[in-house]
């Protein structure tokens, strides 16, 4: 019996003695049969204050005292009356009942206190998290708070990492069993490590950080003395983990939104810049061309006006190419995919190229449609035709399309001197003009644009000398994934 229990027993016996003394003093004024009711008081009080044990002690002592002092024959301990037995049993029953009731109340109160403490801890946790918006600061706040609440070291590790996003106190990297436990915890979405059913030998104890879209990582806890940092399944730990996970997810989403907004803004600025440069360069050209058209009608020297006109047009093409190249290099191409009929595409390109009438076309009208950006493909064809015409030494240019395996190929061929051996890949590089060829005119951008646009749409373009005859062939490969099946 410890000190507290001894003291409680002394109090209990004192109460029984006091009631007995009171009863003796009042003897004759209250009926002896009512005395047993008086003993209910010490029994109930002892059971209420000190629990079942003291209740039983009080009940037993009361029964003995009642029997000894008040039940005839008095000053003897004899129970020979059924009424007395009932009294003893009733007193003990009251002791049991009262102590049970009290114990229940007490455990409820304890639970309420614990819940209040948990809520306070959660509220403070939430307050701390609310102040942080970026992930690292947030993880740091989570660790600091978790370390404080659970009186343990804490760390946050994200899915697929072994270096914690944050830890309190600082921690380098997870290894061995601890890393396994963390990964296991993230995979299973439950708990693992020290103090749990899986990988108990690990130093750290992990709880998953669950969000509606999956487990983002794990919160790890460990104590210096090696004891399990949390017992069983502490509801506080689950709530903390859920809150931490939501906060981390929110921070990740916010970061993505910011990134997207920044990208969009950059795209917008670039687009605005490109279109304003285009506009500024073209407006004077428009005036020059319109003026040359006027001159054609009024000036006698037609050759001079024609030169003015054709040079202005050439300048316009160069500007267009320059802008296209900037778009490619800046990664500012936005695709507008639609099913394109190659017959349409080739016919439109030939209409926009000078001397297009002289090109021989072999594009069957029953090829599959191809999912392309019509405008980019138009520029590709114009550049290829223009290139073939310039290097074709006046011989006819041909455009041929055909099924090739699962896909379709489209080749633009000239009958010029062809490409110097080994230069086939280099022709697509920016500003490349091949030595030893009669490459005149052009900015050296046309073929680089062809390649940039083709790759943006998922096409492959290659250059080679023709096998059948003199000249170069530029071949676009349109892969099967881009073909659109159409019912005839």
């Amino acid at each position: 019996m410890n000190r507290i229990e001894r003291r409680a027993t002394a109090e209990t016996l004192l109460m029984v003695a006091a009631v007995t003394g009171l009863g003796l003093a009042a003897q004759g004024r209250i009926p002896a049969s009512a005395m047993d009711l008086l003993y209910l008081v010490p029994v109930a009080v002892a059971a209420r204050l000190h629990g079942l044990g003291q209740g039983v002690i009080a009940g037993t002592a009361s029964a003995l005292a009642y029997n000894f002092f008040f039940v005839p024959p008095v000053y003897t301990l004899r129970i020979d009356d059924s009424e007395n037995i009932v009294t003893v049993v009733a007193l003990l029953a009251v002791a049991v009942f009262t102590s049970r009731l009290t114990a229940q109340l007490r455990s409820q109160a304890r639970e309420a206190q614990a819940a209040a403490a948990r809520n306070a801890a959660l509220a403070s946790f939430a307050r701390q998290l609310a102040g942080s918006s970026d992930e690292a600061a947030l993880a740091h706040a989570i660790c600091t708070e978790a370390a404080r609440i659970f009186a343990a070291d804490a760390l946050v590790v994200l899915r697929g990492h072994d270096v914690p996003l944050a830890a309190a106190p600082p921690f380098d990297r997870l290894a061995g069993l601890d890393l396994q436990a963390a990964q296991q915890c993230i995979e299973s979405g439950g708990r693992s490590g020290r103090g749990t059913a899986t990988l108990q030998a690990a130093d750290w104890s992990f709880v998953a950080l669950p969000t509606p879209s999956g487990v983002v990582g794990a919160l790890g806890l460990a104590r210096g003395d090696g004891r399990a940092p949390v017992d069983g399944d502490d509801p506080l730990l689950a709530s903390i983990a859920a809150q931490a996970a939501l906060a981390l997810e929110r921070a990740a989403l916010a970061r993505e939104l910011n990134d997207v907004a920044a990208l969009r803004e950059r795209d917008r600025l670039r687009g605005a810049l490109l279109s304003s440069v285009g506009h500024d360069l073209r407006t004077p050209l428009t005036a020059i061309l319109a003026a040359s058209a006027e001159l054609r009608a009024t000036v006698a020297d037609a050759a001079l006006v024609a030169t003015l006109d054709s040079e202005a047009r050439r300048l316009d093409r160069y500007i267009a190419n320059l802008l296209d190249m900037v778009r490619i290099e800046a990664g500012a191409i936005r695709l507008n995919l639609e099913p394109v009929d190659l017959v349409d595409a080739v016919a439109a390109a030939l209409r926009d190229v000078r001397g297009g009438d002289a090109v021989q076309v072999d594009v069957p009208a029953d090829l599959p449609l191809v999912r392309l950006d019509a405008q980019l493909f138009h520029h590709i064809l114009i550049n290829l035709i223009d290139n073939a015409r310039r290097h074709g030494a006046g011989a006819p240019v041909t455009i041929a399309a055909a099924r090739h395996g699962d896909g379709v190929t489209l080749a633009v061929c000239d009958a010029g001197p062809g490409l110097p051996p080994g230069s086939e890949a280099r022709v697509f590089e920016t500003f490349t003009r091949l030595e030893g060829s009669d490459r005149v005119g052009g900015t050296g951008l046309g073929l680089a644009i062809v390649k940039g646009f083709a790759e943006a749409m998922g096409l492959h373009v290659s250059a080679a000398n023709r096998a059948d005859t003199r000249g170069a062939a530029f071949t676009l490969e349109l892969p099967a994934v881009l073909l659109v099946a159409v019912a005839p």
Binding site: T283, T286, L289, A297, A365, L369, Q375, H378
Partner: protein, 224 residues
């Protein structure tokens, strides 16, 4: 339609001056506006037969103005060459789109077509002829060198939509909406297949079309 009145809307003095010179020489009467505000204020006074509209006006985007111009045909003359801008302008009711720098002869041809179109709508020409093709919009019949050609309903619908405005680009969206219905406005493949069918029946060489012409990414037009 010599004597028609054309309103030039552009903030560049040189462009206005040159457009005026070539259009006046072709016999048109010219009015000018420099800003969107000026365009909207002179429109009811000048009552032009055609507006040449630059999209990059200083005070308002030209695309916003298109719906405000009522029944006057508008040719957009712009340095903006993106397909999206063209489609947007045509869908908003522009009859044509010319990119700067333009060829003066080409521009004059487009102006003539737009004005002829306006007159044609007023007198509702029922028979459209292109080379050896004759499209009778009243009888809903098509002849090639005098012989009747049998078309499917979609083929005829598409041809009629194009023939209602010869020479004018009709956007993919406009064609799909009018022939297949609004639910199919994005089904460009229907359009491609039907155009193939029409070409097979009407073109001399279906692989080198001369009747139904493609504007890459924008739409189709019937040759004039």
């Amino acid at each position: 339609m010599t004597g028609a009145r054309i309103l030039i809307v552009d903030d560049e003095l040189h462009i206005r001056r040159l457009l005026r010179a070539s259009l006046e020489r072709a016999g048109y009467a010219i009015a000018e506006a420099v800003t969107a505000r000026e365009l909207l204020s002179v429109l009811p006074i000048e009552q032009p037969d055609l507006v040449l509209l630059d999209l990059g006006l200083p005070d308002r985007d030209g695309l916003e103005l298109l719906p405000l111009l009522g029944a006057v045909p508008v040719i957009v003359v712009s340095a903006r060459e993106s397909v999206e801008e063209k489609v947007a302008a045509l869908d908003l009711g522009a009859v044509d789109y010319v990119t700067k720098p333009f060829d003066s002869d080409e521009l004059l041809a487009r102006v003539r077509a737009a004005l002829r179109q306006r007159r044609a709508t007023q007198s509702s020409a029922a028979v459209v002829r292109v080379d050896d093709i004759e499209i009778d919009l009243d009888e809903r019949s098509v002849r090639r060198s005098g012989a009747e050609v049998h078309l499917t309903p979609k083929e005829y619908g598409l041809l009629a939509a194009l023939a209602a405005h010869p020479g004018r680009v009709i956007t993919h969206g406009q064609l799909l909406r009018s022939v297949w219905g609004p639910a199919h406005a994005a089904n460009t493949e229907y359009l491609r297949v039907t155009v193939r069918g029409l070409r097979a029946k009407l073109e001399a060489d279906a692989a080198a079309p001369r009747l139904i012409l493609n504007e890459p990414g924008v739409g189709y037009r019937l040759a004039k």
